[in-house]
């Protein structure tokens, strides 16, 4: 191999220097081993000279490393997440790739902490949403404030210093007593409500959808008890036994499990496994199995290890773009709360219900992974004449291998605030990120969608 290290590995020099120092090899010694001058190696290590494959291989051999470790550096996804974490802290000058390349363990720790912060912020946001919209919480707060109002106003009359006749005094004392009892009871209910179901302090801040999502994540998105011709359990039994769910989440969980069971009954594991082996293509599978594409997409994201795609993610949304269901693909998913990039095929499918869409989605960043997306939106008719239908879109995400797929690529982003792309017609708000180099893809003069 004699080609130069590609542009994506422009910081290979930093990695070489870090690995050399880790190995305790002097710069002059390494230069001698690979047959270059120390000053030339110094230029390489400071990224002032591009390094060819032959020399890279020689350095890797001299340091007893895989050449790919020096050429590729840290994972693109990790670098992207570090960049986002730095941007969120208003540190545009941070160099995430160099940091991740030189200190991979610390980078992983920073990434883990950034994710934790994101989770906690999500919980705060969910709690805020609850405070604003949850009817039970709103009613409890109303009770507390009403009792406090009555007590304050009445006590203020009694403490006012003016003479009150005995009947009025007795009446106001009774009122204060009654309101204090109400305040105690409503405060107790409020405190109980804010405590997590099942004693889980994190659960109180989770929305019903997040509680259900957490359950499915814990189960690996596959439920053996609902599989087979005679499933071991009924969806309502599983919903009732799922830990840490509030009443709203229980209802949601039951619907999700019923949908799962319907998919499992229509697409038994052995049939899906065989169809996938014959043609790992969802639309061909749908035709062969005589089932709607959306069901096949959902099913492919709910299979046990060893059947179907090795890794798969899924997102389901309604006509308003609200995310109803998510299974992340290697940590990648779409955010809730209307912050998702509208260029994902999921949302385009909403504009053309019934039309299967396929696209390779590429996230920003030179070494970001590509994702093969298959999406379709369906119209579910109402039960009555003239009833408004329900529209739901489903998108399956699978890793797109390094080899070219032949499909056009589509630029998508993690959401405007964390997206560095310039000139994007879909941008809703400015990015927090600094401009991270030039992008080969700019979105989206022409939607890069393949339809079949």
């Amino acid at each position: 191999m004699s080609a130069e290290v590609p542009a994506g590995s422009a910081l290979a020099g930093s990695r070489i220097r870090a690995r050399r120092l880790d190995a305790g090899v002097a710069q002059g010694e390494l230069a001698r081993r690979i047959g270059v001058s120390p000053s030339y190696l110094n230029l390489i290590e400071h990224n002032r000279r591009r390094i060819g494959g032959k020399l890279l291989n020689a350095i890797a051999r001299a340091l007893d490393l895989e050449p790919a470790l020096l050429a590729e550096g840290a994972g693109g996804a990790l670098v992207a997440r570090l960049a986002a974490a730095a941007a969120a802290q208003h540190r545009p000058g941070a160099a995430p790739e160099e940091f991740a390349g030189r200190f991979p363990d610390w980078a992983a720790l920073v990434d883990a902490q950034a994710r934790r912060i994101e989770t906690l912020e999500g919980q705060v946001s969910a709690l805020g949403d609850r405070l604003a919209h949850d009817p039970e919480l709103s009613a409890s707060l109303h009770q507390v404030i009403t009792a406090a109002t009555a007590i304050r106003s009445t006590a203020s009359i009694l403490a006012g210093g003016e003479t009150l006749d005995r009947d009025w005094q007795a009446r106001f004392h009774r009122n204060i007593h009654a309101e204090s009892l109400r305040l105690a009871e409503s405060s107790r209910r409020l405190a109980g409500y804010l405590e997590a179901p099942g004693g889980d302090p994190g659960g109180a801040a989770l929305s019903p959808q997040e509680q259900v999502e957490r359950f499915f994540e814990a189960m690996g998105h596959h439920l053996p008890a609902l599989e087979g011709a005679r499933p071991a359990m009924h969806p309502s039994e599983i919903a009732a036994g799922a830990p840490g769910l509030d009443a709203a989440a229980q209802t949601l969980m039951k619907h999700r499990l019923e949908s799962y069971r319907a998919d499992a009954a229509a697409l038994p594991l052995d049939e899906v496994a065989k169809a996938w082996q014959d043609s790992a293509e969802p639309l061909a599978m749908a035709a062969r199995l005589g089932q709607p594409l959306e069901r096949v997409l959902r099913r492919l994201a709910a299979l046990p290890a060893g059947i179907g795609p090795p890794r798969a993610g899924l997102v389901v949304c309604d006509a308003a773009g609200a995310i109803l269901q998510r299974r992340p693909l290697d940590g990648l998913t779409l955010p809730r709360g209307g912050a998702a990039c509208p260029l994902w095929p999921l949302f385009e499918a909403l504009t053309q219900p019934g039309r299967p869409l396929r696209a390779v989605a590429r996230l920003p960043g030179e070494s970001a992974d590509s994702v093969l997306c298959c999406a379709i939106a369906t119209i579910i008719p109402g039960a009555d004449w003239d009833a408004a239908p329900r529209i739901e879109a489903v998108m399956l995400m699978m890793p797109q291998g390094a080899e070219p797929s032949g499909l056009p690529e589509r630029a998508v982003g993690p959401g405007c605030r964390l997206c560095p792309r310039r000139g994007c017609l879909a941008r809703r708000e400015p990015s927090l990120l600094p401009r991270l180099g030039e992008e080969a893809l700019t979105a989206p003069e022409t939607p890069a969608i393949v339809t079949r």
């Binding site: 707060l141 109303h142 009403t146 109002t149 106003s153 009445t154 009025w168 009654a178």
Partner: protein
């Protein structure tokens, strides 16, 4: 003749306390607790001023306010809204619908008296 204030509120102990302080200040206080018939009550016996709770059984205070403002007979009637929810959007909604003043629970008696006097002199 004493000026009349209509207190539209469904919490009995708040009604009693507010009625007491207003009566002591020289107002004739009428009370009404049902949201559904509140507008009819105003039309049947027009007061000089209305204190209107936002959360009432049957109909919200915001709906009642909107209907009062849509009727030429009650369009200019001073209305002070009370709410247990102090969010900005409730205040905005009340003011957009034509509330003369907005007060958040729990309020102080002095605050209520001052505002009622100010609205009546208006």
């Amino acid at each position: 003749m004493a000026r009349r204030v209509l207190l539209i509120e469904d919490e009995p102990n708040i009604i009693e306390a507010v009625s007491f302080i207003l009566s002591r200040d020289g107002w004739t206080v009428h009370t009404h607790s049902d949201g559904l018939s509140a507008v009819e009550r105003v039309r049947a016996h027009p007061p000089d001023l209305v204190i209107l709770d936002a959360m009432l059984p049957g109909r919200s205070g915001f709906d009642i306010l909107q209907e009062l403002r849509g009727d030429p007979a009650t369009q200019a009637l001073p209305v002070m809204m009370l709410t247990a929810r102090g969010q900005a959007r409730d205040r905005d909604l009340a003011m957009r619908l034509g509330a003369t003043h907005f007060m958040t629970k729990p309020f102080s008696n002095a605050e209520v008296l001052d505002r009622v006097r100010a609205l009546a002199n208006g």
